[in-house]
Amino acid sequence: MSILSTRGLTKSYGDGESLVRAVDGVDLEVESGETVAIMGPSGCGKSTLLHLVGGLDRASGGEIHLAGRRVDQLTERALARLRRTDVGFVFQAFHLMDELTALENVELPALLAGHSPRAAKARAAELLDRVGLTTKAGALPTTLSGGQRQRVAVARALSNEPVLVLADEPTGNLDSAATLDVLRLFEDLHDAGQTLVIVTHDERIAATADRLITMRDGAFVDETRLTGGSTGNLGALAGLEG
């Protein structure tokens, strides 16, 4: 069953001769439980695509359907609700609140969604346990390693049990060991049936997906179904073990 689909999705900036098509007529289908990697050189439009799909930015044209609902024409308020309940984001720069502990960062989306403080805290503790950071629940982001911060960010993305997790260069700021940690986490999510779209320009990360899409100049230029995917020997495939 398709959880996400786009039809002729475009995002352009400027006009006339200075018109730039950051995303140019993209058609995308993502099945429930699938992990899709999108690769391409810097500036090819992959992050913009992720922002459009997640409701962080508005498309210039085309359609976006998420969990059976058309979302490209939603109001800002409805888009906020969409981000709160249906989408979880993982960013390259983590984007954690420096003044909040790991636990407080993870419980924030649940509090914004109106869950009780007790329920939000319990869910955050459960997620931190899932990403292996129970002992770091009271730590501030500045005292955590890069890999630990990204695991907190992943836990935060899962706070409201989203149907789709969007990861934008999730390992771009991490060393090899931390990258492996995060990839194992994504593998766990995949195994649990979580739908993932990962934007990356690291081939080792892309190789762990079910499907790899290559993007250039705002458009999809290639698509490959990977047999190994995230069910294979992750570390060996990614060349990170050791």
């Binding site: 992050s47 913009t48 922002h51 997640g54 962080l56 930015d57 800002e76 308020r77 906020a80 609700r81 981000r83 709160r84 309940t85 984001f89 960013f91 390259q92 720069a93 984007h95 954690l96 609140m97 420096d98 003044e99 909040l100 407080e104 419980e107 924030l108 989306p109 509090l111 914004l112 969604a113 109106g114 403080p117 939000a120 805290k121 501030l140 500045t142 935060r156 409201n160």
Partner: protein
């Protein structure tokens, strides 16, 4: 020299890069320096005409009066005054002159007057200076100048005094008595409204003016026992107060003495009240200016982090960086003090109109060297106090961190974060935004506290003015009301600028946190409400503190009488302030909440 030139050039560039911020800085400091300048320059200007009048009219050093017993005892004996004239230290005197209370009819109006009987020849002491017309003659009265102006009397006007027809023979001024409406009473009289539960004694005059008649005319119009007045010259005028204490009695039938110092104090009390209000207002505006400048400079520093990094990377020492930042603020402060001195000097005459009833114009308000020094020192102090901490912080920032434009890490207040989890999203956002920068919250609270204190003190002063209406004393009430209005408007304007600047500083500072919060599902409405609430909460605290502070301030200014502004006005004031802050912060908060999320999140990677 080269280093100094470099600092000046860099500071000038810094100011020119952000002219709007520099203009706001200038405005904030200039508002305080202008008010302070007016307060300092009007000091003592009203004593000049009195001194002039005293000299021209051979003004007495002490005025002695003896009044009839209101309980109907024996008539006053002028001989009691003769014994005062023979006291040690008295070198000359005039009188005793009879004084009668009477009603002056002017068409359909009736006003009370105290009529002093005088000889046609000038006396040695107290020779009222005739400014128009002639001196007294049978059937011709001379009217005290301030009273004539208030009553609209001119030479030649017919008037009815105690039922007898007279003509205004002249208009005159004297230094022996306080001019209308604060007339020195030589008969039983009352100035202003009677306090609740009290009523004036039978036959007492209400807000009387002063007229001079011939002695025969006074005796003719008198319908009750006469009072008597005598004017005394002392060997040393400076001994007048001591003389009064040694010889004065405040009992009917015994001489009551008033020194020229007392008269001067009464004559100049309007200027003193005006000056007191302006100096207090100037101080409040100065405190607000510190808050404004601190927020503006803090915002500039946050905005300039990368520039500081570039300066340091190019070899500037921390000292030079701090000096550049301080030089920019000091330049603005010097400009603001110049603006304040000029504006204050030009405005001061509006608060020192000629006092009717005295000779010559009020002294020209003068900028003394000490006033210039005080105003300049205050302006520089405001700038240095507000700039020093951010300048030193910027200078100490590591070069690499500055080049990366790393934002100053937010503060963590654990209990506030824990408390916020129990609140709706908008309040949660507000508390967490406020908690990130507690010093800014303190500045916001201080800014509102100072403003509300000033407003409440002004309301108390207005309540006092309204509580003592004097017939035809509009000049005084109007001038003090004008001063209060000017100060209140300036306080509110500066506080409004502060509120907007603080909100905008919060918006800029919280760009990243806001973008993340929205990415996690906060709606634009929740975020803008959070940004506004982050300013409204300190405003609420500041308004509550300000109400108490304002009453305390007014008590400090005028310990004798503290009228409470009406309860309803104080009750309305607190939510009014919060609503006003909400309105002021709404636009910056809405603009911030509508910023696209993706660019803010990606900016960190740039």
């Amino acid at each position: 020299m080269g280093r100094l030139l470099l600092i000046v050039r860099l500071a000038a560039r810094d100011l020119l890069r952000r002219p709007a911020e520099a203009a706001l800085l200038l405005l904030a400091i200039a508002a305080a320096t202008t008010t302070l300048t007016v307060g300092l320059t009007i000091h003592g200007v009203a004593s000049d005409p009195y001194a002039n009048t005293r000299e021209v009219t051979a003004g007495p050093d002490v005025v002695a009066t003896i009044l009839p017993d209101p309980e109907g005892g024996a008539d006053p004996d002028p001989a009691a005054l003769e014994s005062i004239a023979a006291a040690d230290g008295v070198t000359d005197h005039s009188g005793p002159f009879p004084v009668a209370g009477a009603a002056l009819e002017l068409g359909e109006r009736t006003m009370d007057v105290q009529a002093i009987g005088r000889d046609a020849e000038p006396a040695d002491v107290d020779r009222p200076a005739v400014t128009d017309g002639d001196w007294v003659r049978d059937g011709g009265i001379v009217v005290e100048a301030a009273f004539a102006e208030a009553a609209g009397l001119h030479v030649g006007d017919p008037v009815t005094l105690a039922g007898r027809e007279f003509e205004v023979a002249g208009i005159a001024v004297t230094a022996a008595l306080v001019p209308y409406p604060w007339t020195s009473c030589l008969v039983h009289c009352m100035l202003g409204e009677a306090p609740e539960g009290m009523r004036p004694a039978d036959g007492a005059l209400h807000d009387p003016g002063t007229v001079w008649l011939t002695v025969a005319d006074v005796e003719e119009i008198a319908s009750a026992p006469l009072s008597y007045v005598m004017n005394l010259k002392l060997a040393d005028p400076d001994d007048a107060q001591a003389f009064v204490l040694a010889h004065g009695e405040e009992r009917p039938g015994l001489p009551n003495l008033l020194s020229w110092n007392h008269t001067l104090e009464q004559v100049t009390h309007l200027e003193r009240n005006t000056q007191r209000l302006l100096t207090t207002g100037g101080t409040l505006l100065g405190i607000l200016a510190v808050a404004s400048v601190a927020v503006l400079v803090g915002g500039r520093m946050a905005d300039q982090t990368q520039r500081v990094g570039l300066l340091k990377a190019a070899g500037a020492t921390p000292g030079l960086v701090a000096a550049v930042l301080l030089a920019a603020s000091v330049t603005v402060a010097l400009l603001a003090s110049a603006v304040g001195l000029v504006a204050g000097r030009l405005t001061a005459p509006l608060f020192t109109e000629r006092a009717p009833g005295l000779l010559g114009a009020a002294g020209e308000p003068a900028l003394t060297a000490s006033a210039v020094a005080i105003v300049t020192a205050v302006a520089l102090g405001v700038a240095v106090v507000a700039t020093l901490v951010p300048a030193v912080r910027a200078a100490r920032t590591s070069t690499v961190a500055a080049l990366n434009d790393a934002a100053r890490p937010p503060r963590r207040i654990g209990w506030l974060i824990a408390l916020s989890t129990r609140l709706p999203p908008a309040l949660l956002i507000a508390l967490r935004l406020a908690g990130r920068r507690p010093r800014r919250v303190v500045l916001s609270v201080a800014s509102v506290t100072v403003t509300v204190s000033g407003v409440v003190a002004a309301m108390a002063a207005n309540a006092q003015l309204a509580g003592q209406p004097l017939v035809d004393a509009d000049t005084e009430t109007q001038r003090l009301s004008d001063v209060l209005l000017v100060i209140t408007v300036m306080l509110i304007a500066l506080a409004a600028v502060n509120a907007v600047v603080v909100t905008w500083a919060t918006v800029l500072d919280a760009r990243h946190a806001s973008a993340v919060t929205r990415a996690l599902g906060a709606t634009p409405a929740q975020l803008s409400a959070g940004l506004s609430l982050a300013q409204m909460l300190p405003a609420f605290a500041g308004a509550l503190l300000g109400v108490g502070g304002g009453l305390a301030l007014y008590t400090a200014i005028d310990p004798d009488e503290v009228p409470m502004p009406s309860t309803w006005s104080l009750v309305v004031l607190v939510p009014g302030v919060v609503i006003a802050v909400a309105a002021l912060t709404a636009i910056p908060a809405l603009l911030a909440a509508r910023r696209p999320v993706a660019p803010s999140l990606q900016a960190e990677l740039a």
